[in-house]
Symmetry: C2
Subunit: 96 residues, 2 copies
Amino acid sequence: MLERLTPEQSQRLVSELPGWALTNDGKGMVKQFVFADFKAAFAFMTQVALQAEVMNHHPEWRNVYNRVEIVLTTHDVDGLSTRDRDLADYIEHITR
Amino acid sequence: MLERLTPEQSQRLVSELPGWALTNDGKGMVKQFVFADFKAAFAFMTQVALQAEVMNHHPEWRNVYNRVEIVLTTHDVDGLSTRDRDLADYIEHITR
């Protein structure tokens, strides 16, 4: 059973991942990514999309040319869960 | 030389393309797309991304699961141009 992270767990999660912050309502985590150009930004998005499909957990995201803003949240728990941590870990892994 | 469409031309452009509307500031055109699932939504985004790269004219867009919101605008003219019309025509072509 998927459980919602507590506010303390949520805060610790984002503090452990560089560049991530809690959304204003505390129900999600957000990070801005900047790439060389659109091609690089969309290549990144494609990697994340494939992994999201494998995990069956999808980002909410916005792209403007070389910039990508990602919000992770788990609607089933109305907050953050380990799924968000796992997807964020993957994203950090491929952008490190 | 790329020229900004007049307000009349901008209005005519969106009136001719189903589902498109001008943004509140009149400098862009926006449409919401809904697909069967994330896979279909991202397949659509990939098609648009490849064409955008060919045209060297890129959308501003947001995706949440099966939904994609696209805003087209031309920063060089601080408004709409024929580039937006051409990319919108392509998008309509592949979603028709």
